[in-house]
Symmetry: C2
Subunit: 99 residues, 2 copies
DNA sequence: GCTAAATATAAAAATATAATAATACCTAAT
DNA sequence: ATTAGGTATTATTATATTTTTATATTTAGC
């Protein structure tokens, strides 16, 4: 990776590096959801969700389609779901996190 | 992932979400390096490198062993190297980044 | 046109991160 | 004991992120 790629990659990772935004990615792994479904499921405010979704969309991690008065969110790049497996292993193996 | 796991995972991702720290991980993919080798190769100050290494160590992404007056850094968890492949694809496919 | 539901934006305060410069700490060798 | 090389820490300033609250926008249905 050249320096400029690393800058952009850092922005993408930063977009994932937040509990709510990670939650969004995880929930969307099982399919499309509306904004309301997301903030209810993740227990945060509507405003918070709207702002966090914007960040995820900017980095093209999430895509949104409009239908009437609602917006449906889905994952743009399911490839990053691999991260959750790595992360689970890391939490357990290196950060001694157990259920 | 439960909420608390997401908090910790966010911290791990945050540790990776920085151009210098991504650079460190990438350079260490090819093997152990001293602190000096790292900051020379990545073109940043010694102080900066020391601080960034501390963050990577805290999240157990990098391990350090001491030998005399030098410190040798290596990757604790090579599993996250997968990220670079995902990221390359993402940069090209979604963020229209070309060489 | 009015209303209500769904979503977005703005503003502000609190907190965190980034970057630099200066200084301190270790350790091996003399 | 001093020195020099390698690394860490601290302090500071600038900038960015997070979170909350209030308000605005959009659209469907009446």
């Amino acid at each position: 990776m050249v320096a400029e790629e690393r800058n952009i990659a850092a922005d993408v990772l930063k977009a994932m590096a937040h509990p709510v935004r990670l939650g969004v990615i995880e929930v969307l792994a099982s399919g499309e959801k509306t904004v309301t479904e997301l903030y209810e499921e993740l227990g945060c405010s509507q405003s918070m969700m709207s702002q966090q979704l914007k960040i995820l969309c900017q980095q093209k991690l999430v895509a949104i389609r409009k239908d009437g008065t609602q917006k449906y969110c889905s994952l743009s790049n399911r490839d990053f779901l691999k991260l959750f497996d790595c992360m689970h292993a890391h939490l357990r193996q290196f950060l001694n996190f157990r259920d």
